[in-house]
Amino acid sequence: MTDRPALFLERRSYRRRRLTDMIRALPVVGALLWAVPLLWPLEGEGTVRTSDAIIYIFSVWAGLIVVSALLTRLMPRGEGRTDDGQDGA
């Protein structure tokens, strides 16, 4: 980085960091969504039909795949991988 990057550059690297944050958050979101079936009752009146369960689980899946594909597409490629924020930073 130069000592005083232009506003344009700063905005871009800011965007990139937020994009990284989204990529990081994605598995957490996925885990939470897939944890929802833990709340479904196993007996009694409110039991969930398997077809509904399939539709829910696969919808989450497809949604995550689409979001992940979009995010990784948006992430700039190339050698700049290392400077876009360290893990845990």
Partner: protein, 896 residues
């Protein structure tokens, strides 16, 4: 029709096709045209070895038994892939920068390149993978049997074990052919990766074809299928929460830890950016793979007769509906799943076994031998091949002795739980610098023991390996140690129970072991490199070695590339380094050259491993780096010593130069002294001789004679004084003077000196300014000699002070046990450059020979003061010439 024969023929054709694919891929890669081989798509497809025959056949059976639980096996890996930024990105970067060859290599490398740890991980991996290979053999065998059952009439049904044996032999052969065709850099196998990518497509296509056929061909459409699902015995959500969450965790952990997954994820990875694509494409792949599982299971339950093996619905459903071609495709899909898994698992395990067990033993056994030639390539490849055969053979044995009767999925999950024991050590190593080798040992041992005790052994059934009473009562009647109810917590699902306790106690042991132990420097260095992987450079580290190893390298190189060639190579490298002799310095550059050269003979991976063996590490020996650092430290110390020495030398030289200057000066002074003294002696002598000659002539008046006699007398006196001075100085300098010390008053001495100095002076007399009160000091000294000094100083002031109204100030004071007498006149003083010379003999400040002194006065003063225990010095910056006389005050006291 002879479907079994057709089946075998199709299998062989398929295998031949795979061989062609692999062969073509390797050729393309070798010719550098394999850009498309390294596409993210191929990488993603190669990850599909996660979906084994267990997935292909077993998932349907799993779904038929437990509803949607099978999805957990795919959801876990999907989450890992979605979270690639967290773990996989690190793993891949580390794998590439450290040239990791397997998960055992990874763990051993992180924990100080401990080969013991690598051996441990290898053994665990073999134990964890063997049931899994057995599973693949079983599935292929079962699928064969399906066909033979259908066509049982007129055919002899193949022997159960014989089929498995043939499959095992075939797979070993296949793997040896592909997996050890070449020993590529970083253990990459383009041919194998390409083949399993093709197989991935085949199995996906096969499962999709069966699924589409079942949904739209049998069930009658999507909504109809959903209705049938809801009406079936798995029609409602019946998932225990613990199993749902536990299995998702387990499959995610296994996805990272399975040796074969590590192989394709990290080792075979060509480009880190492939992970980006795989992060969504692989979840998409497994999602599609699992899409039709439930419909197939439901339709199988509905259509097929009671008691049909649900694990084989994928095959039996098309067969039952007369779709033999579809069944064949489905069979190929299952075959692909099984073969690709076995191939990659065998490669991964054989790499581990060969690198961490066989090669170290072989190198140790032969490393110091006198063997000059010998094909190491042969040894490496042989050890790989034997390892592959051994791994597959173990799988076969497991299959034979376990009877092949257990439900497929349960063996798979047990294997998952086994390899998941690597997870704490692996993840801890990536994120926690404090993780140590001891901790890793503790964690792995605890986890492994619990896994064996609580899951693996009970899985054979009570009374088979673990006695039934132990299962019920615990060992030695210790109820809290019951294999399936630790600490008395009964009623849990055995699998979840085992995972919970093994992983948590594993983590705890790992954590505590790390906390209480202290890592070796190498561990700490590797830890820092792993944890801060993105702060370090991304290129592979280069070699570093110590001098002692050059000979070992030579011995090794001779074995591999031949004695003459090796010697020529070493000599030319040594010449390049500017060294004489045969052995070059084993620096990083040389080791790189050597590695490339060896790679030409045995492949880069082996070359790397062999140099690693000799330089003392699996990849880069940081110990050597440290040795180098030590050496550097020594060099630095040495150079700082040199620096100190040269500084000392410079100091000595400076002193010598000063001494030399002084000597030269003294020599000049001596010459000057001699010429001066001859001049001084000659001048009065000349006038004495001249006037005495005149006196001898007659006819001189009495007045004239009187005058001349006076001149002669004066000159004689001057001469005598000069000689007296010289004698005085000589006596003083030789220390032969005897002092007449007595008590004297400073003021009195000054009175005497002033009176003497100013008596008979012609011209204006210098005014003396004194402070008599201050002069009232009683001294114990030689007053005559002291007066001589004062006379000299006052006389000089009288002679040389060039002020219009010359004034000499005499200041007396006591300073710290000394009496200080300053003589300050108001003249121009002495020029700075002459100040150092005034106390030298014959030194005259002005060239004017005004006073006619010989220039010995101050020299004598200095000597006298030295004898009296004091000093006389020039006092600069007083407005005129100023001399300071210092006397010791000891023995002196105030007069009053």
């Amino acid at each position: 029709m002879a479907p079994l024969n057709i089946l075998i023929a199709v299998c062989l054709i398929y295998v031949a096709f795979l061989f062609v694919v692999a062969f073509a891929a390797e050729r393309a890669a070798m010719r550098g045209r394999g850009g498309w081989l390294r596409s993210p798509v191929v990488y993603t497809l190669s990850l599909s070895i996660y979906c084994t025959a267990w997935t292909f056949y077993g998932a349907v059976g799993y779904a038929a038994r437990s509803g949607l639980e099978y999805l957990t096996i795919y959801i876990g890996p999907s989450l890992v892939m979605f979270g690639w930024w967290w773990v996989l990105r690190r793993l891949v970067r580390i794998g590439r920068s450290q040239r990791i060859t397997s998960i055992a290599d990874m763990i051993s490398s992180r924990y100080g390149k401990s080969n013991m740890l690598a051996v441990g991980v290898t053994v665990l991996a073999v134990i964890g993978t063997t049931p899994y290979i057995a599973l693949q053999l079983q599935s292929v065998t079962l699928s064969f049997e399906v066909f033979s059952d259908v066509q049982a009439a007129g055919q002899t049904a193949p022997d159960h074990g014989a089929t498995a044996l043939w499959v095992a032999v075939g797979l070993s052969f296949f793997t040896i052919l592909f997996g050890t065709r070449n020993l590529d850099v970083n253990e990459r196998h383009h041919g194998v990766v390409m083949a399993i990518a093709v197989e991935a497509v085949v199995k996906l296509f096969a499962l999709l074809a069966v699924g589409v056929f079942v949904v739209w061909g049998v069930a009658g459409g999507m909504s109809e299928t959903l209705a049938r699902i809801d009406a079936s015995e798995i029609g409602t959500w019946q998932m225990a929460g613990g199993r749902w969450a536990g299995l998702i965790f387990l499959s995610a952990a296994a996805f990272l830890c399975l040796p074969r997954m590590f192989q394709v994820l990290v080792v075979e990875n060509d480009n880190e950016s492939h992970l980006r694509t795989a992060s969504w494409a692989f979840p998409a792949y497994v999602m599609v793979m699992s899409l039709f599982v439930v419909p197939i299971a439901v339709m199988g339950l509905e259509i097929l007769p009671e008691g049909a093996n649900p694990d084989l619905f994928v095959l039996t459903l098309p067969l039952a509906t007369g779709q033999e071609a579809l069944a064949m495709l489905s069979f190929l899909g299952g075959f692909s799943s099984a073969t690709s898994m076995v191939i990659v698992a065998a490669i991964a395990l054989s790499t581990m076994v060969s690198n961490h067990i066989v090669m170290p033993i072989w190198l140790r056994a032969t490393g110091g031998g006198a063997m000059v030639s010998g094909d190491v390539r042969h040894v490496v490849i042989l050890s790989r091949r034997v390892s592959i055969a051994g791994v597959v053979g173990l799988g076969y044995l497991y299959f034979r002795f376990s009877g092949g009767g257990t439900a497929l999925a349960s063996i798979g999950l047990i294997a998952f739980a086994g390899v998941s024991q690597f997870l704490p050590v692996l993840i801890g190593g990536l994120f926690w610098r404090g993780a140590t080798r001891v901790g890793a040992f503790c964690g792995l041992s605890v986890g492994f023991v619990i896994w064996v005790y609580a899951l693996l052994l009970p899985s054979f059934g009570a009374g088979v390996i673990l006695p039934a009473d132990l299962m019920a009562e615990g060992p030695f009647g210790l109820g809290w140690l019951r294999p399936e109810a630790f600490f008395g917590i009964a009623g849990m699902d055995p699998l979840i129970h085992a995972i919970l306790w093994s992983i948590s106690l594993n983590t705890l042991a790992f954590f505590v072991g790390s906390l209480v132990s202290f890592p070796s420097p190498l561990e700490r260095l590797q830890g820092a490199q792993f944890v801060n992987i993105f702060e370090h450079s991304s290129r592979p580290q280069s070699w570093a070695g110590g001098k002692a190893q050059a000979e070992d390298l030579m011995v090794m190189a001779q074995r591999i590339i031949g004695a003459r060639e090796a010697q020529a190579l070493f000599e030319s490298e040594a010449r390049k380094q500017g060294m004489s002799g045969v052995l070059p310095e084993p620096n990083a550059r040389f080791l790189d050259v050597l590695e490339r050269e060896l790679a030409g003979s045995v492949g880069t991976a082996t070359a790397h491993a062999m140099i690693g063996q000799i330089t003392g590490g699996a990849s880069v020996s940081v110990e050597d780096l440290m040795a180098v650092a030590n050496e550097t430290a020594q060099i630095m110390e040495h150079s700082s010593q040199l620096e100190a020495k040269s500084e000392e030398l410079a100091r000595t030289a400076r002193q010598l130069r000063q001494a030399n200057e002084k000597l030269t000066q003294i020599s000049v002074q001596k010459d000057a002294f001699l010429s001066q003294i001859s001049h001084e002696l000659r001048t009065p002598m000349t006038s004495i001789r001249a006037f005495s000659e005149i006196l001898r002539e007659d006819g001189l008046g009495a007045g004239a004679r009187d005058k001349y006699a006076t001149i002669i007398h004066d000159e004689a006196i001057r001469l005598t004084r000069l000689l007296d001075d010289l004698l005085d100085l000589s006596v003083l300098e030789n220390g032969q003077v005897s002092l007449r010390e007595q008590s004297a008053d400073l003021g009195t001495v000054l009175d005497h000196a002033i009176a003497t100095a100013l008596t008979g002076v012609s011209g204006p007399v210098i005014r003396i300014r004194r402070d008599r009160a201050a002069e009232a000091i009683r001294l114990h000294t030689d007053p005559g000699r002291l007066a001589q000094v004062f006379i000299n100083l006052i006389g000089n002031a009288q002679k040389y002070c060039d002020a219009e109204a010359p004034v000499l100030t005499i200041e007396v004071r006591r300073a710290g046990g000394r009496v200080v007498v300053d003589f300050i006149d108001n003249g121009k003083g002495i020029a700075t450059d002459a100040q150092g010379m005034v106390f030298e003999k014959f030194a005259r400040v002005s060239s004017a020979h005004r006073a006619g002194g010989a220039g010995l006065g101050l020299a004598i003063c200095r000597e006298i003061m030295l004898r009296l225990g004091g000093s006389v010095s020039y006092l600069p910056g007083q407005g005129g010439a100023a001399f300071r006389v210092e006397l010791p005050a000891s023995g002196s006291m105030a007069a009053q």
